[in-house]
């Protein structure tokens, strides 16, 4: 897994490439916690994310809860078919803000 963070205006864009699973989630959690602590608007770029398991979902839910509590916003885009399927089964497709494209995600922030 690789995580790259960049900013566009006041929006933090975090690109997570590879897998978000039980092996990689502790590291993803650290990176995301650090971003969320200092940001109000966070967009996750999943265009290079291969798959996600429940360990990865936990990290996303934690970030969503933190941002919700601090009045921030979290969006994501670039989900492949497999990630979408996991989002739908888990109900995350309806509780998290998923966008079709980076432009849509940034515009919604």
């Amino acid at each position: 897994m690789q995580i790259n963070t960049r900013t566009s205006n006041d929006i933090h864009i975090v690109a997570i490439a590879g897998s978000l699973d039980s092996t990689t989630s502790p590291e993803a959690q650290k990176s995301l916690d650090a971003v969320v602590a200092g940001a109000k608007k966070v967009v996750l770029d999943f265009s290079q994310l291969d798959y996600i398991s429940s360990a990865g979902l936990r990290v996303l839910l934690g970030a969503a809860k933190q941002l919700r509590a601090s009045g921030g916003k979290l969006g994501m885009f670039g989900l492949n078919q497999s990630v979408k399927e996991v989002f739908e089964i888990s109900g995350f497709a309806t509780i998290l803000s998923v966008y079709q494209s980076e432009a849509d995600a940034l515009a919604a922030m």
């Binding site: 699973d21 092996t23 429940s54 839910l61 399927e85 888990s90 109900g91």
Partner: protein, 148 residues
């Protein structure tokens, strides 16, 4: 033609990665559809994390054997562990309609396994938990792509 692998892992760091790598190698050598590889990888991650980690679902960590078989029609994964009796499919389904604030963190993994696979089964046999997962290669997508 049948292909596959069998390996045993313990509760050491990197155990799940080893299984992932073997599965990725098998998928690549047989030009397996990415969606099938991803679904099986997620299901295995859930079962292994559950069996190998301390306290997951109230279990003690144990050693696990993973056997993967691939033929023209399906991928069959058998996960055997020597831990305390535990039926991963006998748990209550989580409430997936709760909001971000209401959602408990966790409890989704085994639900995912049941939904991502075409067939799942559990048996307690000779002091071992034996979980069998089946992912159909041809028709396996029909029941999971209806919400697109």
């Amino acid at each position: 033609m049948r292909h596959g692998f069998r390996m045993s892992v313990g509760a050491d760091p990197g155990a799940v990665e080893k299984v992932n790598a073997a599965l990725a190698g098998l998928a690549e050598a047989n030009a397996l559809a990415p969606d099938v590889r991803r679904s099986v990888t997620v299901a295995l991650d859930e079962l292994l994390a559950n069996a190998l980690s301390h306290g997951a679902a109230g279990r003690d960590p144990c050693s696990v054997t993973v056997e993967v078989e691939l033929d023209q029609e399906r991928m069959t994964v058998t996960v055997t562990d020597d831990g305390t009796p535990f039926d991963p499919f006998g748990q209550d389904a989580p409430d997936t309609t709760l909001s971000v604030e209401e959602r408990p963190i966790g409890g989704l993994g085994l639900h995912l396994v049941g939904q991502l696979m075409d067939k799942v089964s559990y048996q307690r046999r000779d002091g071992h938990n034996v979980v069998v997962l089946v992912k159909e290669l041809v028709n396996g997508k029909t029941q999971t792509s209806e919400n697109d």
